[in-house]
């Protein structure tokens, strides 16, 4: 057997040569970050696919339960993905049916009772007439074949069913390829109206027929209007409180306890304490400029600022107090600096890396961390939009919200890993 090791050693040496030469110029740093960016892009693609798989209509609900217009818009009549598998015993035409509970039950009935052609003909006719029975009824037929005689919608051959042993072909998978499928339409588009995700088209909302991208953009703008001020205010107040607490050598537990409290409890507290006159929130925030918006939604602003202040204060205090045990801090005190000055000038500077990294880490919460507060106070923002979309089962809108939040989180993870000194992820 040829000895590959010498070849591999020389190959790896050749590969490492440019990195070694340019290492002082930071090429290694750049190459590592570039490789990490490639990995992150793959991760983003996986997130997009996961978001699609979670929100695809036909995996959760049956397409026949939705309206025809919605079916066309969401492409629910198409197969979900390029490749699908079905039992070999079922006819190839079965793979062309749209996925969902109906198809699942039909496959089970065909395997148990045979007469595949008759079942398929009845199913296609029922789809055309929009008279498909409930999947639960089909499941009952699977359990009790005698029930079929009482069901008038079944044709004659299917009313006299006899259960059989599932043939061995029923356990073999038959792959089927679908060139036009929901994933392709969602990702790459199909027509001028449906441009696909790669061209920035997220489709239309099922509940109000408006473009998802517009709805999400407006809601996100409203959320950022009060989440950015509250985050900045919380950061500054938290830092000041942490410096003061470290100066007084207070324990960090009270801030920790405050930071772990559920936001709906803090929100309820703000609601009960600050809402003296029964503040009326405007129905729409489209016409409001930033000061009017903040004035109209002062209660959520207060609640969110309280939460952010507690979290920042808790973390900053621990980090700053840890630096006070270092020799440089003792030296600064010995040289005659006042404790507060030594804390703010030296301990804080030493802990600044962690402080900034933590701030970057919390950036995605600007968008996705305000759901409860927005729902509680009726802010027409991103979190409330996502909540309403889930309640109304508006899948394109849910997917749009998930994608925007994931994009924010993705950017934050990337920034945090790139700029932190000892990130595990970037090795």
């Amino acid at each position: 057997m040829p000895d590959f090791s010498a070849f591999l050693h020389s190959f790896s040496f050749l590969l490492s040569l440019p990195t070694g030469i340019f290492a002082p110029m930071g090429l290694d740093w750049i190459l590592r970050r570039f490789a990490f960016a490639l990995k992150m892009s793959l991760a983003l693609f996986c997130i997009l696919c996961l978001g699609f798989a979670l929100s695809v209509p036909s995996t959760r609900t049956s397409f026949s339960e939705t309206k025809p217009a919605t079916q066309r818009q969401t492409q629910a009549v198409l197969p979900v993905f390029y490749l699908s598998f079905q039992p070999y015993a079922l006819p190839p035409a079965f793979s062309k049916l749209a996925a969902g509970p109906h198809k699942r039950e039909l496959g089970k009935l065909m395997l148990r009772y045979g007469q595949e052609a008759a079942w398929l003909a009845w199913f296609n006719a029922a789809i055309q007439k929009a008279e498909l029975p409930n999947p639960k009824t089909m499941a009952q037929i699977y359990e009790r074949p005698e029930l079929a005689r009482t069901l008038s919608f079944l044709p004659d051959p299917l009313q006299h069913l006899t259960a059989r042993q599932i043939p061995w072909q029923g356990y073999l998978p038959r792959p089927a390829f679908h060139s036009c499928n929901q994933f392709r339409v969602w990702m790459f588009g199909r027509s001028i109206e449906q441009k696909g995700l790669i061209r920035g088209d997220l489709g239309f909302s099922q509940s109000n027929r408006l473009p998802v991208i517009d709805l999400v953009r407006d809601a996100a703008a409203n959320t950022l209007k009060f989440s950015i001020p509250s985050m900045l205010l919380g950061f500054v107040l938290g830092l000041l409180l942490a410096l003061f607490a470290a100066h007084r050598r207070w324990p960090s537990s009270p801030f920790m306890l405050l930071s772990i409290l559920p936001s709906f409890l803090l929100g309820a507290f703000v609601f009960l304490v600050f809402d003296w006159g029964g503040t009326a929130t405007p129905a729409s925030a489209a016409h409001l400029n930033l000061p009017s918006f903040l004035l109209a939604y002062k209660l959520p602003l207060i609640a969110l600022t309280l939460i952010n202040t507690a979290i920042f204060a808790a973390h900053h205090q621990v980090w700053i107090q840890a630096e006070t045990h270092q020799p440089f801090f003792q030296t600064a005190l010995a040289k005659g600096l006042s404790p507060f000055r030594a804390l703010s000038m030296h301990a804080l500077r030493a802990a600044l890396n962690l402080v900034v990294a933590f701030f970057v880490q919390r950036l995605p919460l600007l968008i996705s961390g305000t759901v409860v507060i927005e729902v509680m106070f009726g802010v027409p923002g991103f979190g409330r939009l996502a909540w309403l979309a889930v309640l109304e089962n508006d899948q394109p809108l849910v997917l749009g919200c998930l994608l925007l939040a994931a994009l924010f989180a993705w950017a934050s993870v990337y920034l945090h890993s790139v700029f932190s000194k000892n990130s595990i992820l970037i090795r």
Binding site: L42, L257, I260, H315, V390, L399
Partner: protein, 320 residues
Amino acid sequence: MKTSVLLSRIWLALLFLGLLFSWLLDIQPGRIPNLPNSIPPGSAQALLGTDHLGRNIALGLLHGIPSMLILAIPALLISLFFALTSAFLLARNIIPRLPILNLGLGLVSGLILLASLPWLPIFPFWLLLSLAGLFFAACCIPLPGPSLSLFLPTLIRMLQLILLSIPGMLLLFSINPNSYLELIFLLGGTSWVALGQFSERSMIDFFRSTEFENARSLGIPMFRILHRHLFRRLLQTLRPQLAWLLAGFIVIEGSLGYLGVGLPSQHWGWGQMLRLGLLHSNLWWSWLFPSFCILFTVLSVFVLLQAGRKSGELSPHNGS
């Protein structure tokens, strides 16, 4: 013993007692006896009063205990399992050296690649997947000399990146789980990354320590070293992290209950009680008692698990 720790222990003991009662009495929201609406607390019929629909608040609170614990504790165990496994694999850099598996992976990837070439314009996803498969298969080949195996660490790092980039609450919204099992796995399976990173750092420190080297040179089996030295110490170090996670799960359960989404339809918890109570805020007992229950539980878990820590868990000098 500190008063806060003592109070926390008493509260958690009461919770477990409530759990026992709830199982013994088999309390279900549908079976709660219908009483007159809005009875204030202190009456003989209902100790903590009834809500606007005449449901007994005390029985509702008792039913909320198993809903919360059934969700939070298994999810925490699943998170811990994922975190420790991934940390161990990454810290020891364990690489699968299974030539048949690698060969099979390479063959399948190559076949998919060949099959996708004629369909290139409409087949981008499978092309990407097969290229990735080929890359991983090539990396796994157990060649002599320097190891090129990158498969498992790369996969775990990628999984960590994906999980870090998914907003948890919105993910639960989108999936809208149908059963507790689904929800438990979702919660546990998406929340282990921070715990895993922390464990990995601790494990790397341990494997580089002279203590580990000495134990190995004495011929002590790996399992015994892990069991007696690493895991016991690691669980002590992880206590504050576990406190955060458990309290976080309780908060998530309450928040989802408050919002009324992302929980199985049969779920009835303190979050729902609080939401309905705040809708009728004049009945102060209907929102006050659930609020106190959530507040005390979160604080007790946090205080109790934090009590054992030796130093600041967020300190930059102890590896966090």
